[in-house]
């Protein structure tokens, strides 16, 4: 119980003193994860819709692959990215190792299956009359797909939120690919882990709470933009 009280006072201290390192880590986390999720949405959302609406041989297998991808361990993704971005690796010259961009790409790999998997499910679950109506009204394919996304916006919003949550809290990629380098690749999640390993539990918990607040802000924003909670 003492620990909870200590962490509360540590949290207040963090905010009052505008702890530079912590706020920088928070900003970095937000930027990295938002970029990764935004890119993942641009890539994954159309993919999810196409998978839900087109019939082709192996469709089920592809869907299965993306669903399995939702459970990728972050350390595994981190190690694969390390092998790719290492100086000896195929993408070595791109200088992605120990840079924030490396983490963005790693988190992209994490986020795409989530976006594809959940939006696929959401579109698949649409009332068939939505598609029929779109067809009969003469909508072209792009217009039709935009309609599906619009109708399935709750699911799409949840896909984006889930992807963001996974990205902003992940440790494996930020540690292995990012290196947890001070002022460069330290995210809020890795900073929290660092404080915990140093025995600074109250500070660690305070940072964890800050992470929750970040999640709260982003969740509200995404909800507002997608208008998912308005009556359809």
């Amino acid at each position: 119980m003492q620990l909870i009280w200590d962490s509360l006072s540590a949290a207040i201290q963090l905010v009052m003193t505008r702890d530079q390192a912590v706020f920088a880590a928070a900003a970095r986390s937000i930027w990295i994860s938002t970029t990764a999720v935004a890119l993942a949405t641009l890539i994954g959302l159309p993919l999810g819709v196409v998978l839900a609406r087109t019939r082709f041989r192996g469709n089920r297998l592809v869907v299965l692959a993306f669903r399995v991808g939702m459970a990728l361990p972050t350390v595994f993704v981190g190690m694969v990215c390390y092998a790719m971005f290492s100086r000896r690796g195929p993408l070595g010259p791109l200088d992605l190792l120990y840079s924030p961009w490396g983490i963005v790409i790693g988190e992209l790999v994490l986020a795409i299956p989530i976006i594809v998997g959940i939006s696929h499910g959401a579109v698949k679950a649409l009332d068939p009359r939505v598609a029929e109506t779109a067809w009969t009204l003469g909508a072209g394919p792009v217009r039709r797909w935009a309609t599906y996304v619009s109708e399935a916006r709750v699911g799409v919003m949840l896909a984006i939120l889930t992807a963001f949550a996974r990205c902003v809290t992940e440790l494996g990629i930020a540690m292995i690919v990012g290196g947890n380098i001070l002022h460069r690749t330290r995210t809020l999640a890795t900073a929290t882990a660092l404080e915990t390993s140093k025995g600074e539990f109250a500070r660690g918990m305070a940072m964890g709470s800050l992470l929750l607040i970040v999640a709260l802000v982003v969740t509200s924003l995404i909800g507002w933009v997608s208008q998912a909670d308005e009556r359809a």
Binding site: R87, V104, G199
Partner: protein, 295 residues
């Protein structure tokens, strides 16, 4: 719906450009240093690195991982210089040609902590015997279990005592020293730690140093320049500059004066005339006792 269709790509474009501009800082040269978590946690690098960065107009990226991982990064050529404390592994690293220059830097000490009541009765013993006594009595011992410098020293001490017995209360955490100490504290167990981490955790845990002050508990640090032949991107010039900096008299004095909790933690090995520099050649836990292959 159109609002979202336009907003999303626009938003992404903004993020990408924001990212590009903020990370395209003036093209400073970058030195990549791999070191251990305990070295980072001691805070010493926070004192030494910024001065070097200013003097040389270089940015030093410090990547702190376990000793094994740090050496592996050096082997892969992903870092330019490696700063660890595992003499045997360092020698193997050099022998395999992964590094072109190695220098002694400093040493600190290990100690064995345990409950103040000391049920195993190891207070004041030499470390190898203490470990054997703990095992013989079946008391709980918490190990790093992660191939770190501390873990390697534990291995050496077991070997010196005649081998490592197997008993159920031998606990391996696979994590850093801080977390390992916390776990040992919870279990009121025996644990081998470096003095620096102990000092920082003194007020958080309820364990006492029982075995200290032995030549077998000296923990020497070495710094190695990674072989630039591995990859053209390796900055051997910056690495050598950093090594020169660390063994320079001025920095060695700073190392000597660096304190944690009011105590000088590190003993420099390169201060001319210091007897440590000489005696380090005859370090008590010497490689010849053990198989030459590294870990």
């Amino acid at each position: 719906m159109t609002r979202q269709l336009i907003l999303c790509p626009l938003f992404t474009a903004i993020l990408l450009t924001a990212g590009c501009s903020s990370h395209r800082s003036p093209r400073l040269q970058v030195l990549r240093l791999a070191t251990t978590t305990s070295t980072r946690d001691s805070g010493l690098l926070g004192v030494l690195v910024p001065r070097f960065e200013r003097q040389q107009q270089v940015r030093v990226d410090v990547i702190a991982v376990g000793t094994g991982a740090a050496l592996k990064l050096g082997e892969a050529g992903d870092v330019d210089v490696v700063f660890v404390h595992a003499r045997q592994a360092e020698d193997a690293f050099m022998a395999a040609g992964h590094g072109i220059r190695r220098e002694d830097v400093m040493y600190n000490t290990f100690e064995i902590l345990g409950p103040s009541a000391d049920p195993a009765g190891v207070r004041g013993l030499d470390p190898a015997s203490a470990l054997q006594k703990i095992a013989a009595g079946g008391f709980v011992f918490v190990s790093r279990g992660d191939n770190s410098g501390t873990h390697k020293r534990e291995h050496l001490l077991w070997k010196k005592g005649g081998g490592q017995p197997v008993w159920t209360d031998y606990v391996e955490t696979g994590q850093g020293m801080g977390i390992t100490l916390t776990i040992a504290d919870q279990m009121q167990a025996y644990v081998l730690t470096d003095r620096g981490t102990y000092l920082r955790f003194k007020n958080k845990i309820d364990l006492a140093p029982l075995v200290t002050n032995s030549p077998d508990l000296r923990n020497p640090y070495g710094i190695i320049v990674v072989n630039p032949a591995k990859h053209p991107a390796i900055r051997a010039d910056l690495a050598n500059a950093f090594v020169d900096y660390v063994v320079s008299a001025d920095v060695q004095k700073r190392i000597q004066n660096y304190q944690v909790e009011g105590e000088s933690l590190f003993h420099p090995l390169r201060l001319t005339g210091s007897k440590e520099a000489v005696s380090n050649q005859r370090s008590a836990v010497s490689q010849k006792d053990l198989p030459s292959a590294g870990h």
